[in-house]
């Protein structure tokens, strides 16, 4: 019988702990597919964050390290500098990357560290039960912004791609989403490119994936995907923010 669909080799058989309707499952699969496609599973080392994806080390079949909250880009820097032939990626959420780990993110980018970062932005702290994230939208109600995010006191959301694209260092900065089939296909291409860049020694690549959190947004999975389209994407426009490789390829 012909096999028409199978689990990527780069995922283990462990059962995901993610909530129903969470898009981490899709993003994990896209990362694993990119690793499979490039044939780099045996020399890839992943760095898991603190946040919902903390147990990603059980799901990816490559060697894995669990980092402290926000420190994944520094840990990845150590791994890459000690093993330049290996492929090193981090998988981080918005609180991890854009709040507590902002310094590590910006400096890994400005050094053009030859690593790949998958940044999952769902505008909320999921694992701790739905607190305001650095990327929570103005007016967004969370456990720690019960009257809606008031920009006068809580400030504005951090637009990571726009911020990093202003640096001279990084190679590839792009924002994708996984709320519909077309966007998932684009996300797959972007993630693969972010890994290929590293294989080819081109430098720092970050893919921001606009994601959803039905549980903590208090929505059905379907409604949450709609909210991504109507609220998240207008604030976080999709597209390539920086691509040093575009010139070479053109």
């Amino acid at each position: 019988m012909a096999v028409v669909f199978e689990k990527p080799k780069s995922l283990t058989d462990a059962e995901f702990h993610y909530c129903p309707g969470c898009t981490h499952g899709i993003i994990h699969r896209l990362v694993a597919e990119a690793i499979d496609t490039l044939g780099i599973e045996g020399r890839t080392v992943g760095v898991a964050p603190v946040g919902c994806a903390v147990m990603a080390y059980n799901y990816f079949a490559c060697d894995m390290v669990e980092a402290a909250h926000g420190r994944a880009p520094a840990v990845a820097t150590g791994l890459k500098r000690s093993m330049p032939e290996n492929i090193i990626f981090t998988y981080q959420g918005d609180g991890d990357l854009a709040s507590i780990g902002m310094a590590e993110t910006v400096h890994a980018a400005t050094r053009n560290e030859n690593i790949t970062i998958i940044f999952v932005n769902n505008a909320i702290y999921g694992m701790t039960g739905g607190q305001m994230a650095p990327t929570s939208l103005p007016g967004q109600v969370t456990q720690t912004s019960p009257y809606g995010r008031d920009v006068a006191t809580a400030g504005y959301p951090v637009k990571v791609c726009e911020l990093l694209a202003a640096l001279d260092g990084p190679t590839y900065i792009t924002r994708v989403a996984v709320n519909n089939v077309k966007n998932v296909r684009n996300a797959k291409k972007a993630i693969e490119k972010a890994f290929r860049n590293q294989v080819e020694g081109k430098g720092f690549s970050l893919v921001e994936v606009v994601s959803s959190c039905p549980t903590n947004w208090g929505m059905t999975p379907q409604k949450a995907l709609e909210w991504v389209e109507t609220n998240m994407i207008p604030y976080y426009p999709l597209g390539v923010y920086k691509d040093k490789t575009a010139k070479e390829e053109a």
Binding site: G42, V47, V54, A61, D63, E66, G78, E104
Partner: protein
């Protein structure tokens, strides 16, 4: 090959680390240890090593964590306020059972404190320092020669017991110059089957991690780690005993305080007062047994420290309230004089006679 050179203590650490096979250094500038970073910045690129000035001490220790996870020898160095920042990473390194070297060339505190020598990070170094149950192997050099020798030893012990080691120096040791016999480059390699070097599609994936959500599992990892710590306590205590054979008064001091104390011992003996010195070289594990033995013999212990009195607590635990333990200390970057130490001993001498 081995060679005798005149060097600053901080430079001796750096060169000894290179000769112990360390090719990865991550640091951040802070007085009085910056020469370690400067030396590494100069040497590492010439020998195919990695020097990286991190964006913070927090980032530096996490880069150390990454290299340690890959199984390579790695170090960072800093001074007191910077070492406080590293505590998060040190806890993760200890919790993931990784070997690494952290150097603390101490300065006065708390807070920003000062830049003059101190030993006031003793509690932080010997009792864990960050969150959770853990220890570091803590070595305290008292000469530039020991800055070099204990650096090599720290790498070996860290590898052997899969735990972080700390070289706990002070600003004096970092800044002073002395002749030092540098060893030949010698790397004792240890198999590290746990390292994350890529599976090469030949084995199940390795995971370097300190998260255990099942309490029984977390308890078990803590118990296994402490079984290893007991081995360290049994096998790796190091100290120097000076004029203790017939001593009535036992000075206990490490680092620069031990050097001043030796002068005081000699001067006291010239005056007919039988003083001796126990100099811990490891402060974790602490030399409890020699202190306990001395308690059978001496009239009092004098803890000589560059702090408001920290090691004195470990002396009291070791001698178990059998004899008086008094403090002779200066703090804030000040160093006790031999005369101050002699005065403290003579006060005890008067009190007992």
């Amino acid at each position: 090959m081995a060679e005798k050179v005149l060097m600053k203590g901080n430079e001796a650490i750096a060169e000894a680390a290179i000769r112990a096979g360390c090719r990865h250094y991550f640091g951040y500038p802070i007085t009085p240890q910056t020469e370690v970073a400067a030396y590494m910045a100069k040497r590492m690129p010439k020998i195919g090593g990695v020097f990286l000035q991190a964006e913070s001490e927090v980032a530096a220790i996490n880069m150390v964590y990454g290299v340690a996870a890959s199984g390579k020898r790695v170090m960072t160095s800093s001074s007191s306020p910077g070492v406080s920042l590293k505590q998060e990473g040190i806890s993760y390194i200890a919790g993931s059972d990784l070997p690494a070297l952290i150097v603390n060339v101490q300065r006065g505190g708390p807070g920003l404190g000062g830049i003059q020598p101190s030993q006031s990070d003793y509690f932080q170094a010997t009792k864990g320092g960050g969150h959770g149950d853990y220890h570091l192997i803590v070595l305290t050099p008292a000469s530039v020669q020991e800055m070099a020798d204990l650096t090599s030893l720290a790498f070996d012990l860290a590898d052997k017991y899969r735990m972080p080691a700390m070289l706990l120096a002070d600003g004096t040791m970092g800044q002073m110059m002395e002749p030092v016999l540098l060893p030949e480059e010698q790397v004792h390699t240890v198999a590290k089957p746990w390292a994350v070097t890529g599976t090469q599609n030949k084995r199940p994936h390795n995971i370097v991690n300190s998260l255990y959500l099942v309490p029984e599992e977390l308890e078990r990892t803590n118990e296994e780690r402490f079984a290893r710590y007991r081995q360290v306590e049994e096998n790796e205590v190091r100290y120097e005993s000076y004029c203790m054979e017939d001593a009535d008064y036992c000075l206990v001091a490490f680092g620069i305080a031990a050097r001043v104390s030796k002068n005081a011992v000699d001067a006291l003996r010239r005056q007919g007062i039988k003083a001796g010195l126990i100099r811990p070289i490891t402060v974790w594990p602490f030399p409890k047994a020699p202190i306990a033995r001395a308690a059978e013999q001496v009239k009092a212990f004098i803890s000589v420290e560059l702090s408001m009195g920290q090691m004195i607590e470990d002396i009291r635990l070791a001698e178990n309230c059998r004899k008086p333990v008094v403090l002779c200390s200066r703090a804030g970057g000040m160093i006790p004089t031999p005369e101050q130490i002699m005065q403290t001993v003579m006060e005890q001498n008067g009190g007992n006679d």
